[in-house]
């Protein structure tokens, strides 16, 4: 049976990447909680997971010719807007308590994915040493 190290970490590698980017986005929402006209954004996990499974990136144009320009490297998941629970007069759609809850949840999920990766690594290490 061939052993591929690329597959050893499974979906957790993608999950960590997604969570890290979501952390960044939620931090931006929190920092802009008092900015007039700022629209809070978020990723859809189910959609991102599906895209990761299919190895596809959102809104990416197909490159049918070698001379087509490649998209920017930092191109990430699709960013979605949400309807604010308490709309404010200045057009800001950040619900700070919801963003804080999401941030904590996301941080915990990131740590969980790291824990899974750690277990995978220690499993591999045991296999290599033959313990």
């Amino acid at each position: 049976m061939p052993i591929s190290l690329d597959d050893a970490f499974g979906i957790h590698e993608q999950a960590v990447k997604f969570r890290a980017q979501r952390t960044e986005l939620l931090a931006a929402n929190i920092a802009n909680a008092d900015t007039p006209g700022y629209k809070a954004r978020d990723f859809d996990f189910a959609q991102a997971l599906q895209q990761a499974m299919q190895g596809q990136r959102p809104g990416e144009l197909a490159r049918t010719d070698a001379r087509h320009i490649a998209p920017a490297a930092h191109y990430s998941y699709e960013q979605l807007y949400h309807t604010p629970l308490q709309p404010s007069v200045d057009g800001n759609t950040v619900d700070i308590h919801i963003e804080k809850a999401k941030f904590s949840e996301n941080a915990m999920q990131y740590m969980t994915s790291l824990q899974f990766l750690n277990s995978k690594i220690s499993g591999l290490r045991k296999a290599i040493r033959g313990e």
């Binding site: 960590v16 890290a20 980017q21 952390t23 960044e24 986005l25 931090a27 931006a28 929190i30 920092a31 802009n32 909680a33 008092d34 900015t35 007039p36 006209g37 700022y38 954004r41 920017a72 930092h74 191109y75 990430s76 960013q79 700070i96 804080k100 941030f103 904590s104 941080a107 990131y110 740590m111 790291l114 990766l117 750690n118 690594i121």
Partner: protein
């Protein structure tokens, strides 16, 4: 790497809130500064926040910046105090248009937002530390 951007974003947030807290402190300190003419009187100052769009931070991370500090154009208070050393020819002194209640609310809001951003930084730090310890 995206987790490092969290520090920049939250840092810009803390910076903006500090400016806001500074203007509030200035407004409260000058709430009772009288003067003898309209032009010389202190006017309440308010920062204007805007989203910081920068290339280096990439697609997702947008910090916040203070683009301007505006003076409040609300009318000044005018009081008749003929005995006051700063009174003008008609016996009037002019007081700043600072609303203490408004400033206090602003102060609480700014310090709460600052705290939240500081928490974001500490959480991001924990996440990075755990990532560095991966596989040990």
């Amino acid at each position: 790497m995206s987790l490092f951007n969290v520090f920049k974003v939250a840092g810009s947030g803390m910076n903006a809130q500090t400016v806001r807290l500074n203007t509030t402190a200035s407004n409260i300190a000058n709430a009772d500064t009288v003067s003898s003419s309209v032009n010389e009187t202190y006017r309440a100052r308010h920062p204007v926040f805007a989203t910081l769009l920068s290339e280096e931070m990439g697609d997702a991370a947008h910090g916040v910046q203070v683009v301007n500090i505006v003076k409040d154009q609300a009318p000044l208070r005018q009081e008749y105090r003929p005995g006051h050393p700063q009174a003008d020819a008609n016996g009037y002194v002019y007081l700043p248009n600072v609303s203490i209640a408004e400033e206090m609310a602003n102060m609480i809001s700014a310090s709460r937002s600052y705290e939240t951003n500081a928490e974001v930084v500490s959480t991001a730090k924990q996440m990075l530390m755990r990532t560095l310890q991966l596989g040990q």
